[in-house]
């Protein structure tokens, strides 16, 4: 698993091999969009446990919950977008299987941004007046040093590791997010000690010598420890512009939250050829991009 400073290519198994039980792991993307699902499936197969998962959650959280990998979940929501409620998350949360730190979406990104700047906290108004403060007694309020305003002091969300899925990357760790919204992948990477990317395609560095692509390259390469080429690595979530999320697959997955998870693991997570198992490359490419 040795790699030179400018050749960061790794396998998905190598990346997950770098993780340790008990770590705080941030997962990029949003809901059912742009999730590093190949890495999630690899974690499900691993003997990792007691993870603190930080995510704008979708089926990444649901699968890790059903695989009993989560000790604590830092979240604002868990949703599959087209399917508003995530059944695996709901089952596990209602069973009290993990601790939660439930915060506003804006507080969440401030926590990452505080960590990214080596700050203890960033102030905001969001959270005041809600049970976010009741159930997170560790989140304090402060009085402004300049006026009598009170703010929430959103603590830094420091990550051991960030895992994200991008469209293209080179072996140095430069990367391009082709989907419309780049979400908070940048801030997950900045908040982490180490960041690992999966990508649809490994490309030559010269591919990024492009004024349009450069506008969608929020993660500079020295934030990135490893890169794995995994075509369709976000399935069943979307990876714009290449493919949308797989609603029939997500519906079938949602239906087995109470019974049938082991079957899902053996059929899909442990499949020798995942892409063929879920219908093949042409099927995934044909999945329409999200529209609401």
């Amino acid at each position: 698993m040795s790699h030179s400073v400018l050749d960061k290519r790794m396998s998905v198994a190598d990346i997950v091999g770098d993780l340790e039980s008990g770590m705080t792991v941030g997962i990029g993307g949003w809901g059912a969009r742009q999730k590093p699902m190949a890495l999630i499936r690899e974690i499900v197969k691993s003997d990792l446990q007691d993870l603190t998962i930080v995510s704008y959650g979708g089926c990444d959280v649901g699968m890790l919950a059903s695989a009993r990998k989560i000790k604590k979940l830092v979240f604002s929501f868990v949703s599959l977008d087209a399917i508003p409620l995530e059944s695996h998350f709901r089952r596990a949360r209602s069973a009290g299987e993990f601790e939660v730190m439930e915060v506003d979406e804006g507080m969440f990104q401030l926590g990452l941004k505080a960590a990214a700047q080596n700050l203890d906290f960033l102030p905001c108004v969001a959270g005041l007046g809600t049970d976010v403060m009741t159930y997170n007694p560790g989140i304090k309020t402060i009085q402004s040093p300049y006026s009598d305003e009170h703010y929430v002091a959103m603590p830094a969300i420091n990550l051991d590791v960030a895992l994200c899925h991008v469209t293209e990357a080179d072996q140095r760790g430069n990367s391009h997010i082709g989907g419309p919204d780049m979400f908070f992948d940048e801030w997950f990477c900045r908040a982490a000690k180490k960041a690992y990317l999966t990508c649809e395609r490994i490309v030559e560095t010269s591919a990024f010598n492009d004024d349009h692509k450069i506008l969608r390259m929020p993660i500079e390469r020295n934030l990135v420890t490893g890169v794995a080429e995994v075509p369709f690595g976000a399935h069943p979530t979307s990876s714009g512009p290449d493919y949308g999320f797989d609603v029939p697959h997500l519906k079938a997955y949602s239906a087995i939250a109470k019974e049938g998870w082991d079957g899902y693991v053996s059929e899909f997570v442990e499949a020798d050829d995942y892409v063929s198992k879920v219908g093949g490359a042409d099927h995934i490419r044909s999945l329409p991009l999200p529209a609401f």
Binding site: R93, E105, C124, G129, D131, A291, F292
Partner: protein, 267 residues
């Protein structure tokens, strides 16, 4: 489909009434419209009296014109900018935004729940999570829609998990409301409510045709203010109905309420 003056559905009545929540808005307010009714209501407001209103395509772009609800067919979004989530949160914090949302519960303070019901550590019912409600409610104008007006939705005491903030002084440092806290209206299948009672108490603003104040009160878990001049929710005009049809060409609004009841109850 054609309509006469008295021929409109409850959904269309509520859409027209809900468009009014934007009447007093800033000229170029950014409206976030969550769900079928809020979307069509916002579109109607933009098409009739608030042409500068800004809105997204639901995914990433600022849409120069409302994107019709339901299957889009050949319709292409007409983008006039971008509005990714990071920018949304920046706009939320600045404040010129009106969020029209559909929480699961609301209480007498206007506090909302979107997270869970029952004991927090292992909730009887787990829902979405607080999402952006904490930030919306203390920074932006907030309006709500409830398809079923009953005591499970409009609850006695406080909601199970206060996800969206309200006018409950006990929950703020020094009892002082945040500057941006500004709840506007609640649209339900029975009536329109607002926060214009004493100290922002919830008040019945208008009753849908054929609904009595007592019926509304009997289905609400807290006491409502009854204004002296309480009237009926205005029926949609033909012009409004035509616009509603244009933005909802597949009649998705027929699924907002169970059995798609008429706007005027049979006597």
């Amino acid at each position: 489909m054609s309509y006469t003056e008295n021929d409109f559905t409850l959904a269309e009545l509520c859409i027209a009434a809900a468009s009014e929540i934007f009447r007093d808005e800033t000229d170029e307010v950014f409206a976030t419209l969550i769900g079928t009714l809020p979307k069509i209501a916002g579109y109607l407001a933009k098409a009739t009296f608030k042409p500068g209103m800004m809105m997204s395509d639901g995914i990433y772009y600022l849409a120069a014109e409302p994107v019709p609800v339901g299957p889009r067919g050949d319709y292409q979004v007409k983008a006039e900018g971008r509005i990714g989530y990071e920018r949304v949160f920046t706009i939320v914090a600045k404040g010129n935004r009106h969020a029209f949302v559909g929480p699961v519960q609301v209480d007498r303070f206007g506090q909302m729940n979107l997270s869970c019901i029952g004991e927090y550590a292992a909730p009887k019912v787990t829902m979405l999570g607080v999402r952006g409600l904490p930030g919306n409610t203390v920074n932006n104008r907030t309006s709500m829609f409830f398809a079923s007006h009953n005591k499970r939705a409009l609850v006695a005491n406080e909601v199970d998990m206060v996800s969206g903030a309200g006018y409950n002084p006990a929950r703020y440092p020094g009892g002082k409301y945040p500057k941006g806290l500004d709840h506007r209206q609640i649209i339900t299948n029975l009536c329109v409510l607002d926060f214009e009672g004493p100290d922002h108490a919830i008040r019945v603003r208008s009753l849908h045709p054929g609904v009595s104040f007592d019926e509304v009160q009997d289905n609400t878990g807290f006491d409502l203010i009854r204004p002296d001049d309480l009237g009926e929710t205005a029926p949609p005009t033909q012009a409004q109905l035509d616009i509603i049809s244009k933005f909802d060409p597949h009649d998705i609004r027929a699924y907002i309420f169970k059995d798609n009841p008429p706007g005027r109850r049979a006597a």
